[in-house]
């Protein structure tokens, strides 16, 4: 008897508390930018693919759900020939983003990925690549790297001297 009254009292008190339930999907929750949701591939400030196909994300992935193949264009710039994430395996741990040396792979605050068919959860590069820079602005790996790629010769990267003249003996 006493326990029933106690329960009724608890219900009564709770009725006047602030609601935490959100009427999803009519009402949208706030998700911070660093929330770990759907994975995207971003572009650098020049609008070129940031991913250099270094395979670090796939190595970091604890469920091995990232597969890619490196390729090189005629200027020596490396990019993924294909880039596939199997979201039906992904655990959204964010290790890929941590491992990425170029800010290419980023997790976004989007989680609405439900599908009726598992195979629709397999995202290829065209599904992953966005047209913007994502969360991290202004970084371009090839401006820092020593490699010569299209539009950037040896010695033109940040903090680099002009190439050495091997035939000179001057100090």
């Amino acid at each position: 008897m006493l326990s029933i009254l106690k329960s009724l009292w608890t219900v009564l008190v709770t009725m006047f508390r602030k609601r935490v339930t959100i009427q999803y999907p009519e009402e949208r929750p706030y998700l911070p930018p660093r929330w770990r949701g759907r994975i995207i591939l971003s572009r650098d400030p020049d609008g070129k693919e940031r991913c250099v196909a270094c395979h670090l994300c796939s190595a970091a992935c604890p469920v091995d759900c990232i597969a890619l193949q490196a390729a090189e264009d005629e200027t020596g710039r490396r990019y993924p020939a294909f880039f596939r994430i199997n979201f039906s395996r992904c655990i959204f741990c964010g290790y890929c983003e941590e491992a990425c040396p170029t800010y290419a792979i980023q997790l976004t605050p989007d989680f609405e990925m439900g599908e009726y068919l598992r195979k629709n959860l397999v995202y290829e590069k065209e599904n992953l690549l966005i047209s913007g820079q994502g969360k991290y602005h202004g970084y371009s790996f090839y401006r820092v790297a020593g490699l010569a790629v299209g539009g950037k010769d040896k010695g033109e990267a940040q903090n680099e001297e002009k190439p050495v003249d091997v035939k000179s003996l001057l100090p």
């Binding site: 250099v52 199997n86 040396p101 195979k119 040896k154 680099e160 050495v164």
Partner: protein
């Protein structure tokens, strides 16, 4: 741990106050690495020894137990001594090593994500090992322009840390001339004097020798995969008869690269470019992936120009069974480039009397002679390690740099033994590379090269002799007679070259007799049996006269000696049998007959044949003539055994599962036997069953079954994984086709598994799929493997020698016992090319490009000379 060596052979050193027993004839770095200490180094290499250039391997040495201050020394330049006290873990030594790395990294570019060395980079490993994390230098980095170095090696000079390993290997070991160090102070540049393909046939080793990403594999770059993503298996090179041990790596169903697998007695640390870059034939457009059949025509002939159709595995087997059942007579032609198992099961399928070895007639005769010489003795075949240890070498009629490149490299290393001898007399340690070279002052052990054409080892030869094969045989017979007067004589007709054969023979004989370990190298290259007889007679004469001479025969293909040991009839007999109407059906296993006999003969043979069944990897002229084509697995898609020129049976292991109907030749023949009712249906034949059966029928080949551990081999109940523990993409690589992951394939034929799971430690050498050790991701992890540290001296090397001479040779081979055709050699002896003479490697684009260049260069060169004169 070192139970094999008696305690007296060892000295005790104290590392961080703990006593350790080590071998005395080494330097401290080697001793520390052997004991398992993680001591960083760059310029030291087990094959190139110490020069003390990089200052990375610093340790602290103490005078005695009371000394607390100590002094920093370079461990690679300090010999091990009894009672020595040192500290690897000393704070000062550690900070010294950390600052050396920091200097080396000052100008190292921010490249790792796009560097092909990343993930297997010695510089990365050493940087992590010393704990250098952040760059403190704020000033700009030095940059360099790259060079074009040909289709094999990519150059990215910014990454260089000036360890000098590349030039020391290229010039000091491989004898190349076109790679050097240029410029001065901190601008030094490693490259060629101008852009152009590297000329040495060992240039690919720069990829493994370079501790960072300056020299990387250009063929890998086109289908780049990180080391941890490759599915790898131990393999054996199929591009010549030397039988170098390799590690082959696959990703997404295509073969990606070949790395060296260390074998003390064979290739040790290096491979030739044909072996390293020839692998791409496996991915060739010309690969046969499905069983095809020409539409059946009423005449039973093979209609030309008609589209063949895919029929599938089972239908092909059924159809061949039908053909074989109704055939008047069947001819089975094996191949010197197919495994022992494939040849053997074809022989079983068609019966021994219908089995033909598939060698050209000349080669057949020569190989039979070689087998007889090697079996009867008295000279033993040397391993490459024995050749490296030789103190006098005679090359008789074999262009080894083109037909057996690694053997030529062993010869090149052997001539340095004189320097080691001089250094030993001056009590210099053998590992002190600069001291040995300086004290030797260019002295060389005697090498004599007698070949029809100039060779690339002439530069280190004491005498080079040019003559036709008969002239070379004359010289050989004369040498044998000089050593031992009872050797048969050969009339010394004037050979027209104006060379004084008797005087040369006397000189060579004197050097060979004076040597402790002379080696005679000959082979089938001259296509002349007299040359073989001459080589055999010299070795016999030497064995009778005293020194234990060894005799090496170079054979052209990966299993030529295996074919010779299996026997089988000659191709000529097959042609005759077909022309006489005694047979109407032919099965050809992995053999292009147009490379073995004249076009007209082969054409006539195929015209006469009612049914032609060909099993091969690649489309070739013989495949074009086939009615039924069966796709055969290459070395990377099947397991089997090959017999090298040294008579060492070695196992190669399947790297990945082939697509389509592709399966190993021996599996096809087993299916056919089963379908014909020669094998009970339902039972399964495994690789080990085939080698066991082979051993029962050929007692000489019985040891081949122990060339590698059997399929039942386990370490702590586990198989050896083909994939690294970092292997990635398992749940995504096939998701594009089907989101449901397939069950990992079972491998019932070998002790390796298509999995990341299994034994983590070091497997036996014959089953080593990769070199890795915690903290050591690069190929230098080899130094941590039991083979190198000497922990497993009894675990056995990979492969097993099949022939030890019985010494039953009745006597010298008289010139009169050899057919007259070798006396009237009117045809010029063939000229071999490392890139171009071998069938399979020519289907690799990079090798084909080098072969094309080689054809262009002489033309340009002659043009250039003409304009000079």
């Amino acid at each position: 741990m070192f139970s094999v060596l008696s305690v007296k052979d060892m000295v005790t050193i104290y590392i961080d106050s703990k006593p350790y027993e080590v071998k005395p004839d080494q330097n401290l770095l080697q001793a520390c690495l052997t004991l398992g200490f993680d001591l960083p180094y760059f310029c030291w290499h087990p094959a190139m020894h110490s020069v003390g250039a990089c200052r990375q391997c610093a340790v602290k040495l103490f005078k005695d137990e009371k000394d607390t201050r100590g002094r920093i020394v370079m461990s690679c330049m300090t010999p091990v001594a009894e009672g020595m006290r040192l500290s690897v873990d000393d704070a000062e030594a550690r900070s010294f090593r950390a600052s050396v790395i920091e200097w080396l990294m000052l100008n190292h570019p921010h490249d790792c994500p796009v560097c092909d060395e990343g993930g297997e980079c010695h510089l990365q490993d050493m940087t992590v090992m010393t704990g250098h994390v952040y760059r403190r230098k704020r000033f700009p980095k030095r940059t360099h322009r790259n060079q074009y170095l040909g289709p094999f090696v990519n150059h990215e000079m910014n990454r260089c840390i000036q360890c000098y390993r590349c030039v020391r290997f290229y010039r000091g070991i491989a004898g190349g001339r076109d790679l050097n160090v240029f410029s001065c102070h901190d601008n030094v540049y490693f490259g060629r004097h101008e852009d152009g393909a590297l000329e040495s046939e060992f240039s690919g080793n720069l990829v493994e020798v370079c501790p960072t990403g300056v020299f990387t594999d250009k063929t890998l770059k086109r289908h780049y995969t990180r080391k941890w993503d490759l599915q790898t298996a131990p393999s054996v090179c199929v591009h010549c008869g030397v039988g170098c041990n390799t590690i082959a790596g696959e990703r997404y169903g295509s073969l990606r690269r070949i790395l060296n697998r260390h074998h003390r007695d064979v290739n040790s640390y290096f491979l030739c470019d044909r072996g390293r870059f020839g692998y791409e034939f496996v991915n060739s457009e010309k690969r046969i992936r499905s069983a095809t059949c020409l539409p059946f025509s009423a005449s039973g002939g093979k209609p030309h120009g008609e589209e063949s159709r895919k029929i599938g595995k089972q239908a092909a087997v059924d159809q061949i069974t039908k053909i074989l059942a109704s055939a008047k007579g069947v001819i089975g032609i094996g191949s010197p480039r197919a495994s022992l198992e494939t040849n053997f099961l074809l022989r079983k399928l068609v019966g021994p009397e219908n089995f033909f070895a598939g060698l050209s007639d000349t080669e057949h005769r020569l190989v039979a002679r070689i087998v007889a010489i090697l079996r009867e003795g008295p000279a033993r075949t040397p391993s490459l390690q024995d050749i490296r240890a030789a103190d006098a070498v005679l090359v008789l009629g074999e262009d080894a740099p083109n037909t057996a490149p690694l053997l030529a490299l062993a010869i090149r290393q052997s001539v340095r033994n004189k320097q080691f001898e001089i250094a030993a007399k001056m009590r210099l340690p053998a590992w002190d590379d600069n001291a040995v070279r300086n004290s030797g002052a260019g002295a060389r052990s005697p090498l004599f090269v007698a070949t029809p054409y100039a060779t690339r080892i002439d530069d280190i030869a004491l005498r080079a002799f040019r003559a036709d094969p008969v002239g070379i045989a004359r010289l050989g017979f004369a040498i044998a007679r000089e050593i031992e007067p009872s050797a048969p004589e050969l009339p010394l007709a004037a050979d027209g070259t104006g060379q004084d054969i008797p005087a040369l023979a006397r000189e060579i004989a004197a050097f060979l007799k004076a040597a402790k370990h002379p080696v005679i190298v000959s082979g089938t290259g001259c296509l002349n049996e007299q040359v073989l007889a001459a080589a055999a007679n010299i070795s016999r004469a030497l064995c009778l006269a005293g020194p234990s001479a060894q005799l090496s025969f170079v054979l052209p293909e990966c299993n030529t000696l295996g074919s010779g040991l299996l026997g089988g009839r000659t191709l000529d007999e097959a042609f005759t049998r077909m022309q006489d109407g005694l047979a109407d059906t032919v099965i050809i296993a992995e053999n292009d007959l147009y490379r073995r006999a004249g076009r007209r003969e082969v054409d006539a043979f195929f015209r006469k044949a009612r049914h032609v069944i060909v099993l091969d990897h690649l489309r070739n002229p013989t495949v074009e003539r086939a009615e039924i084509v069966l796709p055969a697995a290459t070395f990377a898609e099947s397991s089997g055994t090959l017999v090298s020129s040294e008579a060492r049976a070695q196992r190669f292991f399947q790297v990945f599962l082939a697509e389509g109907d592709v399966q190993a030749g021996w599996e096809w023949f087993d299916d056919l036997q089963r379908s014909m009712g020669k094998q009970p249906p339902g039972s399964e034949t495994r690789l080990d069953d085939v080698t066991a059966l082979l051993g029962r029928e050929f007692p000489l080949l019985a040891p081949a079954s122990s060339a590698a551990p059997p399929a039942s081999f386990r370490v702590a109940g586990q198989k050896i994984p083909r994939q690294s523990h970092r292997f990635s993409g398992r749940t995504a690589m096939t998701a594009g086709a089907d989101v449901h992951e397939p069950k990992p394939a079972d491998d019932a034929d070998t002790a390796l598994a298509y999995s990341m799971e299994g034994h983590e430690g070091a497997p036996p050498p014959a089953l080593t799929p990769r070199y890795w050790s915690p903290g050591w991701n690069s190929v230098q992890a080899l130094g941590k493997s039991p083979q190198e540290t000497g922990e497993e001296t009894n675990s056995g090397e990979s492969g097993v020698r099949l022939i030890e001479p019985t010494g039953s040779a009745p006597g010298y081979i008289g010139p009169e016992t050899i057919g007259s055709e070798d006396w009237e050699a009117t045809v010029a002896p063939p000229r071999y090319r490392i890139f171009g003479s071998e069938e399979l490697s020519m289907q690799a684009p990079a090798i084909a490009e080098m072969a094309r260049r080689a054809e262009d260069i002489p033309r340009q060169a002659t043009g250039g000379n003409a304009s000079h004169e």
